[in-house]
Symmetry: C2
Subunit: 272 residues, 2 copies
């Protein structure tokens, strides 16, 4: 079975999309065509949306499902006339919350919110810069300023994880690739040893690693299965010996890896 799902918002659409994706993931036997439609903030755009929804209903032969976080009543009224099945996210929860808080919400008075985190802007940019400047072992002298330091073989997912943690949580995450030299020395370099309590390991399935490395340097020793298998085995051995927590990135998304690391390290998010 195939159906179209729309995530519609007068803002970025992040809330509608995040919740909608989570809910649809609970229905594994249905294939959804998912469309995120941010900044639907005028009656004209809303009417164009209705046309698109109705066209999808016609071509699918079944009505689409719509997840919306629209605040403006006029725009919601226009969309309500489409041939879609509408899940109105805000209206479902704001009534009980207004009752609990004994306070009217901006939604009730038709005022839209942006999600801009201006108070956090500098902190966030700073964390992203920290991740970039301290990527791939580029320098180790600022490790005293790091919240954590990810270690693992080249291309096991350290950089995206550090960038994600910087962007989403304002965490200053450095990363250091363990090379053959590190493995032969059978110990951590001085810079890492000094900050051992900040270290967290990432490991990966050798097959997956070889596939990723082949994208960068096809048919090299670097990307051979034998080399990948050797490096992963040696690094895991070192992590165990040094008693450093680590997780296998193979079957997790960057979001999952990041959330798990923060829990295991006991590092608090910087954004509240």
């Amino acid at each position: 079975m195939k159906r179209t799902a729309f995530f519609i918002s007068d803002g970025t659409g992040i809330t509608a999309e995040t919740l909608g994706q989570s809910l649809l993931a609970q229905f594994e036997n249905i294939t959804f065509t998912k469309l995120t439609k941010p900044y639907i903030d005028t009656p004209e755009k809303a009417r164009a949306m209705v046309q698109q929804i109705n066209a999808a209903a016609e071509s699918d032969g079944i009505r689409p499902v719509i997840f919306d976080t629209l605040v403006n009543q006029e725009i919601r009224d226009i969309l309500a006339k489409s041939n879609g099945f509408m899940i109105d996210i805000f209206s479902s929860f704001l009534a009980p919350l207004e009752h609990e808080f004994q306070s009217r919400s901006s939604y009730s008075v038709g005022k839209s919110h942006s999600i801009s985190h201006n108070a956090n802007y500098m902190q966030r940019i700073e964390a992203v810069n920290f991740a970039l400047d301290n990527d791939d072992g580029a320098r180790t002298r600022y490790y005293d300023k790091a919240d954590l330091i990810l270690i693992g073989v080249s291309r096991c997912g350290k950089t995206p994880t550090c960038l994600y943690m910087a962007m989403q949580f304002g965490i200053r995450a450095a990363n250091y690739p363990l090379t053959e030299e590190d493995m032969e020395n059978l110990q951590l370099t001085a810079a890492l040893k000094k900050h051992k309590h900040k270290l967290f390991g990432l490991t990966i399935d050798p097959d997956r690693l070889a596939a990723i490395r082949n994208e960068r340097k096809p048919n090299s020793r670097y990307s051979s299965f034998a080399q990948c298998e050797f490096e992963v085995r040696e690094v895991e051995k070192m992590l165990r010996r040094e008693n450093i927590n680590f997780i296998d990135s193979t079957h997790f998304s960057v979001e999952e890896i990041s959330a798990k690391i923060l829990v295991e390290m006991g590092v608090e998010r910087k954004f509240k």
Copy 2:
């Protein structure tokens, strides 16, 4: 008024946190202490959560609000006994969706989902690598592979925006800093001209720009208000003359800027 809010999940907590934050933002007159608690996936962790919730209730003098996306019934039952006001996100929406889809959800059968996007993993890593390799005008010869190219003065927010678009949407975004040389030439460099349809401009308030630059190079000509003001004015003039769409990043979050760019450029997300 001050209250504690918990975002509790047996997964990353992203859905509970995203929706919870959006809902709480509608109550501007209340100050919330927000705590995200991912991977609450055992009865032991759930019981520890209950203690933390009850402690917050006691110290605040008012019960906390809890947004949860827990799938396991046993764990939800434990949390339900806390002194918190519980907003059970999944249960609110899955019943109507099950009815609409004529299908039972995994939730109903107590099966948890990870949000891992393994099908998209390679595409995502690739997009992040593209953003890193083509950051800050580092190279221009791969612009034919770019989905879009952000241009603007140094430190106006191009890099975080490109990284966010790569991470969240799999978009290959390059960025090129417009320098005094570009401004004096009064025209776009050949590499940019060739890909003019991919260009999008970012601009920024000169005051904010000076503050950001001062973090990097304090008390330099580069970070002086006069220099920032000159560069911003010249770049905006150039963008208007060349008829390139642009937005002012000053009052928007990276999420908002990214969503706006995709809408204005008509670029589709690569993840569905």
